[in-house]
Amino acid sequence: MATVSHTQTYRRKSWGAVFFILPLLILVVIGFDIPIVTIFNYSISSADGYSLDNFYELVTTPVFAKVALNTLRITVMTTVIVAIAGYILAYWISTLPKTGRMIALALVVLPFWISVLVRTYAWIVVLGNAGIVNKTLQSLGLTAAPISFLYNDLGVTIGMANIQLPLLVLPLYAALIRVDQRHMQAAASLGASKRVIFWRVFFPQTLKAYLAGIMLVTIVSIGFYITPAILGGGRVPMMSNVIETYINTVPRWELASAIAVILLFVTLGLFAIYRRLENRTGDEL
């Protein structure tokens, strides 16, 4: 009897909980789930009912292949740059004394509070033909003509790497300072050189956070829109830019939806790889 009444109380309580989360549930369904279903619906709709014609059209369009390759190239370059610069930066911050850490972290976080749009336009001022970098190079006599940083892969990659850097640095820094300093002391007493201590003892303990951060940067890079649009000047279109074209310029929403669905599945695939990686490397990594 006691068990039964307990269960009843429990059930009543959980119905109460459903009541409280209902508004949020409705919001998520209307604002998030229904649009996704609509996009799926668009992507498989054609003049004569449901088919995969839209996807077929995309795959057979040479422009789409070029854009996919662009996206892949920019994503890989951005991720590699952020991965290398991010680890060095996070490691350097973790070695600073307390005040230094706070200042350095503030400098990393500060750009986060400024709109991506503003930061991207700022790069035009810095990298343009009459920008700070080119002016300096020319006045130093290092280059005769301005180097074109903008409206090519280089500009897009620089801009994206800059915006994505905190995404890796912050979680990575948190993981780096969590590593027990006594592990390094123990390794030193066991005879390991500084290089060996870093690669065999320190780095493996930060690998999980590092891979998670890299994966996050990759996922965000694949869907980037503003920076390639502005710093690429339309010459380095990525998937998101093509979606925009198919919605605003060409108006073919079914193709735009098909690209969105492809992007979604690529992202889910990356996430699955990350999860498998996480399982294989074990809990400690």
Partner: protein, 325 residues
């Protein structure tokens, strides 16, 4: 295997002196325990010997080598931390093989040495586990295995049993002592537990506020403490006057007091049992005299007992009083 020689070793942090001019000679194969309250500088001293931090003065030799400013990598010292500091991403076998790998031992030599040490520490069955899958006692064994596998000159143990429960700690104390004898390795063990320090060390070094209070065998340190701090840190000490006509004080260990019921004698100091505690094998009596002095006596559980509030005469032999101050 080597001896260790410290002369005037000190470590200052600004105006704070953690270790003040320590002189110490640990002979080859000796087991020395370093005992002191927290903040006494005992762990700092161990870190100086391990090379994890550099001294601000003095000199240090291991064998004939001057290691005063040698980094830890060059000292060939086995070190066990209280937290064990096992590498969480490596298995037991990988942890133990680590010092051999950095020494570039050949595969066959390495496997042989790791296998032998794991066998010796009864870890053979656990070799492919990760540290997080081990109990505290097992982790402690792995840390010890890792610290001895490369045949270091010296073994340093920083409260190696501090994180374990009492029963396991006592078992491992015996094991550790046997292991040390078998290997004949010069060993320093830091502890704040006076029983551990007395039971394990060939000699005990007592530290307080960075200064050496006494270096002696456990028996000497216990019965003939160099000063009041040592006397009180190593156990209960009754303070009595020395009967040589001077005003000097001496200490008397609680098990040295003789107790008789007042009815049978008028020898000694008349007291009343103000409290008593049963400790299993022994009984601890708190006795107060009329003039306000108090005594603590420990008697075997078997034998005459005294009830709470009963009148007891306390006496002792003059040779058992050790003068201090």
């Amino acid at each position: 295997m080597s001896d260790i020689r410290l002369s005037k070793i000190r470590k200052d942090y600004g105006i704070f002196t953690a270790v003040a001019d320590v002189d110490l000679h640990v002979v080859n194969g000796e087991f020395l325990t370093i005992l002191g309250p927290s903040g006494s500088g005992k762990t700092t001293l161990l870190a100086l010997i391990a090379g994890l931090s550099g001294p601000t003065g003095g000199q240090m030799h291991i064998g004939s080598q001057d290691v005063t400013y040698t980094p830890p990598q060059g000292r060939n010292i086995g070190l066990v931390f209280q937290s064990y500091a096992l590498f969480p991403h490596m298995t037991v076998a990988e942890n133990v093989a680590f010092p051999l790998e950095v020494r570039k031992w050949s595969r066959s030599k390495k496997d042989e040495a790791v296998g032998r040490v794991l066998q010796m520490m009864q870890l053979g069955a656990l070799s492919s586990r990760k540290p997080s899958q081990l109990s505290g006692g097992q982790q402690q064994r792995v840390a010890l295995a890792r610290a001895i596998v490369f045949q270091p000159n010296i073994l340093l143990l920083d409260e190696p049993l501090g994180a374990l429960d009492k029963k396991l700690r006592e078992e491992l104390q015996v094991e550790l002592k046997q292991l040390q004898r078998r290997l004949g390795i010069t060993t320093l063990l830091v502890t704040h537990d006076q029983e551990e320090a007395l039971s394990m060390g060939d000699r005990v070094m007592i530290l307080n506020e960075g200064k050496v209070q006494q270096i002696a065998t456990p028996e000497i340190a216990y019965l003939q403490p160099a000063n009041r701090f040592v006397a009180e840190f190593l156990g209960t000490a009754n303070i009595v006057s020395v009967s040589d006509g001077s005003s000097r004080k001496g200490i008397l260990r609680p098990e040295r007091l003789l107790l008789r019921t007042s009815a049978g004698t008028n020898k000694g100091v008349a007291t009343v049992v103000s409290d008593l505690v049963y400790l299993g094998q022994t009984v601890r009596y708190y006795l107060s005299a009329a003039d306000g002095t108090s005594f603590i006596a420990v008697r075997p559980f078997v034998g005459p007992k005294f009830a709470l509030g009963s009148a007891v005469n306390v006496s002792w032999t003059e040779e058992d009083v050790w003068p201090i101050d």
